[in-house]
Amino acid sequence: MSDNKLNAAQQSGAVQTTGHAWDGDLQEYNNPLPRWWLWCFYGTVVFSVLYWFIYPSWPVGQTWLKGFGKVDYTIVDKKTNKVEEREQRWNTRALLLADLGEAANNEQRKAMLSKVRAASHDQIVKDPKMMEFVRSVGKGLFGDNCAACHGRGGQGVVGMYPNLSDDDWLWGGSMDKIHETLVQGRKGFMPAFEGVLKPEQLDDVAEYALVLSNEAKPSEASERGKEIFQGQIGGCYYCHGADAKGVPSQGAANLTDKIWTIANVPAQKTLQDKKAVLKTLIANGVNNTRIMPAWKGRLNDDDIKLLAVYVQQLGGAK
């Protein structure tokens, strides 16, 4: 670096300096840009002028130059429900519409979708091609919209979000019922029995709930519990049914199986603890804590139908 000797070309004056000199002798060479680079540069300048004409560009008063670029797209008119071809000046929103239209027009997908749309539930389930389609689309939809609550595989979280991967349903497992669940959402409600029932009565009815699910053997306490359950004081039968198998129109759980959706009975080791979680649940009831959002408006009708089949299949229903 300290070697300030000039090379031959520089000495001969072939490379010029900018003409400035600092500190008496500090000069700067003026090396011209390579020709290819310059031409590229001029090219971009020319393109920028073309760009003004093709794409939206300069502001002019209260509007702007809209450009000559055009995008064609097809869209279903909301009022007439007819498919329309439209032309629109270039912009990213119009491009999206074109892209969505193209995706919807993808022959395979379109054919599949119209088949699924027209098919009854039984027809879909029996057709392996349609089911393959349902699974591939359903998996994505479920991951984006449902997995945060129900878990990736639909296994749920005891106490908070029901398991969708078993064939046990609060609101009914038929295609129609699941469809209804998705469209309008669900809200689990059971009144709090604290204050309505005395602590001993809560104990008894919890004991009966254990007997119902075969966790405990019938006893005097459970007999008293049964009376409360089936009688007017408790009125549990009103929602859970006289056979305690649940009433889907109320979203009330089946209490006779080993599947627990709120009270985490299986996680408790002793009978004492099992009874305690049930007692707490019956005392507190369920209000405003178990809410399934409504999906109408967020998802379109096709998506909801596909999801309903997907979810039902998660549960292994026939």
Partner: protein
């Protein structure tokens, strides 16, 4: 007097001024005209300024740095449309100061998260994200549930936003204008003199955090999250309409 190269290069103050002048051209050309162009903001119904409780929720959102991982702008691309829903409109962030658009997405976009989950899910997810989404890398925010919400200065915050052009009302005249524009229910929420009462009422009535009788920071944050992207009813509009605005 002609200005020479040398004069600029040897006078740093002058050079600084000239640099500022040159680099502001881009911003001036791209941004300033938007203020006078009629079609910058789409004409849609339903967009309203935040309620006092949502304002505090938004402040907490910013305080906790949620924007470092979450954007609030769905771009007009197919993949985003399919995952998040309708792309964001300029109209939807017209009252946002500062806006929360962003491009950093460690977590998902939140522009339309309102209504997607229940309040209870949000509370659980804020407290311990991995208890509902096992793979999540979002931090825990347990203090939101234990901190009482400080709302003593909410009216001042509304006054400050009013200066930036958000139509919170101070006078009867402004209030009447809001009634005309947003209807009486929303206009009441925008009335600065009722800010604290409105905040407390909303928090108690809707009890976002699930703790009755207390107003926590969680109440405010969840109220804010539940409002995101819910104000425009897109079923009312023809999609082609929005495409005429850009």
């Amino acid at each position: 007097m002609t200005m020479r190269h040398e004069q600029v290069e040897t006078n740093s103050a002058l050079m600084l001024l000239l640099i500022l002048a040159v680099i502001s051209v881009g911003g001036l050309v791209e941004i300033v005209p938007l203020f006078s162009i009629n079609e910058t903001i789409e004409k849609v119904e339903g967009v309203r300024p935040n309620t006092p409780l949502e304002i505090r929720g938004r402040d907490i959102y910013i305080r906790e740095g949620c924007y470092l991982c979450h954007s609030q702008m769905i771009r007009p691309f197919r993949d985003e449309w399919l995952r998040y829903g309708h792309y964001s409109l300029a109209a939807e962030s017209q009252y946002d100061h500062p806006f929360q658009w962003g491009s950093k997405r460690t977590g998902p976009d939140l522009a339309r998260v309102g209504g997607k989950y229940s309040n209870q899910w949000h509370v659980q997810h804020m407290k311990a994200p991995r208890s509902v989404v096992p793979q999540s890398i979002m931090p825990n925010y347990p203090w939101l549930l234990t901190n009482d919400l400080d709302y003593s200065d909410v009216a001042d915050r509304m006054r400050a936003l009013r200066v930036t052009g958000v139509p919170y009302s101070l006078t009867q005249q402004e209030y009447d204008a809001n009634v005309k524009r947003f209807g009486p229910t929303v206009a009441d929420q925008l009335d600065i003199s009722k800010a604290e009462d409105n905040l407390l009422k909303e928090a108690r009535d809707k009890n976002f955090d699930g703790i009755p009788g207390r107003v926590t920071e969680m109440d405010a944050l969840v109220a804010y999250l539940q409002s995101l992207g819910t104000m425009v009813d897109f079923t009312k509009y023809d999609e082609g309409y929005f495409a005429t605005f850009r």
